[in-house]
Subunit: 145 residues, 2 copies
């Protein structure tokens, strides 16, 4: 299902964009609904889509050595999963799976990367969000260590 | 001591900038040398400077609860310390101290933030480096967990 630009305003990632920039992003997004245990992407796969979580919860899994993937994080409404699709070499660094029934915006990562380089003020704004998001994750890791 | 733009080329953070952009960054940087146990910045302090390490090693310390700060990372030549000065709210999220005699480029963080918003292709390129750097740190945390 296609997405209205105004709908993107509710995500912190897009709140600093202009209406016109949100319209450009909305064209790359579609609303999807998945059941529990749906795999959004797998570790090391090329980064084709990133997801904004609308409702529900997802788990982030990571493989260490030969062990089967272990949960390293949980993500909920308003959060982004798959941001490594926007960071060279544009491959997923983890596996993501739904824990509940889940509504998401699925965004075409390659098209978003192109849009971010063409309109670098849009790119700058989205990257600010991602840097903050990654830094918060690092602080959480330190607190849990 | 002032810094030559060509000198910035050796840092991965600046390698994708144009010569003109490197010149603009060089104007905000000065070369400094510090002895072991020099504190570059303290956790929660406003982000005034970030540092590119030229030679030597620094440790990153982080306070958890009431305990005294514990080492969470070590940084060496070619690496950046203080990148939280480029991420809202522009405060240091850790303490950094030299472990050895250390040569650094000290960069005025506020002026760099202004330059990054004025020239968003420059900003975009530096942010790309920081996102990659933060993501690599997250992968290391997962591997160590």
């Amino acid at each position: 299902m296609s997405v209205d630009a105004a709908y993107l305003r509710k995500f912190r990632c897009f709140e600093n964009l202009s209406e016109e920039q949100r319209e450009a992003v909305a064209k790359l997004a579609k609303a999807e609904c998945f059941y529990p245990k749906y795999t959004f992407y797998e570790e090391n796969a090329p980064g084709e889509h990133l997801y904004m979580l609308v409702t529900g919860e997802a788990e982030i899994l990571y493989s260490i050595g030969e062990d089967s993937p272990a949960r390293v994080d949980r993500m909920g409404a308003g959060e982004m999963i798959g941001c490594s699709t926007l960071v060279p070499p544009y491959k997923h660094t983890s596996t993501a799976r739904s824990l509940t029934k889940i509504d998401v915006l699925e965004i075409d990562a390659k098209a978003l990367r192109e849009l971010m380089s063409e309109d670098c003020s849009l790119g700058f704004s989205i990257q600010q969000y991602i840097m903050k998001f990654l830094m918060d994750q690092i602080i959480n890791f330190r607190l849990e260590a």
